[in-house]
């Protein structure tokens, strides 16, 4: 071993250690920010390690430097700008986009190695030299392409640029996807047999497979898909690691792959969906209207903002249940104004956070933190559920399925078994909602029919603004 090899070895080892510590640190609120920076540092360190290794061994041509600099500047610049500009509500889409680009990167590396075999390099850089090389290139292309197109479709659907086409809800889609999958497999074996041109077939059909699998999935399940695709991008990175013979890539890719799987599992559990039904079941609303019927509401009580304000003023303990609707209305800041007033009046306020509130675990926490809500007031479902019977008022804002008592009481409901917030145990429940439309699952919410529930119809932001006005008139929060 010569010096550059030893230096690279040490740096790689250090980078892996720091990346692992970074991921570990991300699991605690206190250390999370530093941990993220640590991981970023480890990534830069790994670049320094690689470049210094090549400088010390083969050297780096001027031409290579030029292309390195061009690629780095453009990629980093766009990444940084997007990261600074994007609103917090669009987090799932943003992660999907970044993720897709990671997959694209792995795809391009494998493609580059496959099309332009490099002569005279000491490492296993000659295409088709060994079976392993062929397999890892194929896997890298396959997973990379699925990650890319899948993530882009996921992003487009979350942004509302793409809707779910009707045929994707029929059985036809399974047939189409099986055709794509079989075609990928054929291209894969053809490649291994030495037919280089089938690489394009592999690129095309695996891209189509990514689209075909993601397109039928409904908006509510999208975060699960993004999380799964995140896992794939890790696998794609690990596969690229086999292609260029880098342990560091393999370790980091494997860690991300495992992380994505765990997260996917957690999200599925929170929504009471199995991964299989998310991936192959189509959108939930299509199933539920067919199976259990939506049913009619019989006992809806609606009330004015004024009544709501009066009840709030008299309360001792208030629990807020925020949902994605709140985020869409960009009303988290207005909500904070309301709760500040209540707190100043000595009313105890906590926020009940369902594990999948805001479409992605932890998303709602981020949105509320943005509005300066103290971290201590955010209570997780299991912590807050026993508190509901002792609560005077519950405000449900833009949440629906996560407060549906059907999940506990009605074994025929598609929601049955999903963990929900027991808001109906509270003395009074106000549901602020634009209309009587169903939640993402498309299922009737029994909560709305209960005698202690009142509906306040209107846009979340407008209702909260009116509420601030009413509370002011009552003198709440003036002292």
């Amino acid at each position: 071993m010569n010096l550059p090899v030893i230096i690279k070895f040490v740096i790689d080892l250090l980078a892996v250690l720091l990346l692992a510590l970074g991921i570990k640190g991300l699991s605690k609120v206190k250390s999370a920010r530093d941990a993220n920076r640590l991981a970023a540092f480890a990534m830069s360190l790994s670049v320094v390690g690689l470049l210094s290794y090549y400088l010390g061994t083969s050297g780096i041509a001027i031409q290579s430097w030029i292309w390195i600099i061009i690629g780095s500047i453009i990629g980093s610049l766009f990444g940084a700008i997007l990261a600074k500009k994007v609103p917090m509500t669009s987090m799932p889409e943003t992660v999907a986009l970044f993720n897709g680009c990671g997959g694209m990167s792995s795809l391009l590396v494998a493609l580059g190695v496959a099309i332009f075999p490099i002569s005279g390099s000491p490492e296993n850089f000659d295409f088709f030299k060994s079976l392993i090389n062929e397999v890892s290139i194929s896997v890298s292309i396959f997973v990379g392409a699925i990650t890319f197109t899948g993530s882009i479709v996921a992003m487009a659907k979350l942004q509302g640029w793409l809707s779910t086409p009707g045929w994707t809800q029929s059985k036809v889609r399974h047939f189409v996807n099986i055709v794509f999958a079989v075609a990928s497999l054929i291209a894969f074996f053809d490649l291994i047999n030495g037919n280089t041109s089938s690489i394009w077939l592999l690129v095309i059909v695996s891209s189509l497979l990514g689209i075909g699998v993601t397109l039928p999935i409904g908006g509510a399940d999208m975060p699960v898909v993004i999380s799964l695709l995140n896992s794939y991008s890790g696998i794609a990175a690990a596969a690229a690691g086999f292609v260029v013979d880098s342990q560091l890539l393999i370790v980091a890719g494997a860690m991300v792959g495992a992380a994505g799987l765990i997260l996917t599992q957690v999200m599925c559990k929170g929504m009471n969906r199995s991964l299989v039904s998310v991936l192959f079941g189509g959108s939930l609303s299509a199933q539920s209207t067919a199976s259990s019927g939506s049913g009619e509401y019989t006992n809806i009580t609606s009330c004015s903002v004024e009544e709501c304000a009066l009840t709030l003023e008299a309360a001792n303990k208030v629990i807020i249940v925020p949902g994605y609707g709140l985020a869409v209305a960009q009303a988290q800041h207005t909500l904070r104004e309301v709760t500040k007033k209540l707190e100043q009046n000595g009313i105890e306020v906590v926020y009940a956070i369902h594990p999948v509130a805001g479409r992605m675990p932890g998303h709602m926490n981020v949105l509320l933190a943005e509005a300066d809500v103290p971290y201590e007031q955010l209570k997780e479902m299991d912590v807050v559920n026993p508190d509901f019977p002792a609560t005077d008022v519950v405000l449900v804002l833009g949440a629906n399925d996560v407060v549906n008592p059907q999940a506990k009481n009605d074994s025929s409901s598609p929601l049955y078994g999903m963990p929900v917030l027991d808001v109906q145990e509270a003395r009074t429940v106000f549901v602020i909602k634009r209309g009587m439309s169903a939640g993402y699952s498309g299922i009737k919410n029994d909560l709305f029919d209960l005698p202690n529930t009142s509906m306040v119809f209107g846009d979340a932001k407008k209702v909260l603004n009116d509420l601030i006005g009413e509370l002011k008139d009552l003198g709440v929060g003036e002292k």
């Binding site: 609120v29 970044f98 995140n230 890719g253 494997a254």
Partner: protein, 97 residues
Amino acid sequence: MSFISLLWVLLLGSLLGLELIGKVPPTLHTPLMSGANAISGITMLAALTLIVKADGNVPLLIIGSVSLGFALFNVVGGFFVTDRMLAMFSRKPLNKK
């Protein structure tokens, strides 16, 4: 590195990932996902390798450079956006202006 030892690396890396991530509170799942996603941009190293070894082959240099761009978009964007999210958590509770 032989293929077998690379497989060992893959296995141990996966186990490490499972172990590290098994204990994260739901609150941090979005930042974690975004942070882990940034790390998956480690393919930038593969792109760099490609460019360095291109040996004057312009199409390969271009592919490598585009790949590097995509990877760094993922890495830089991912870390920045994670930092933005986490900055909100680290705000002191009840510090009103």
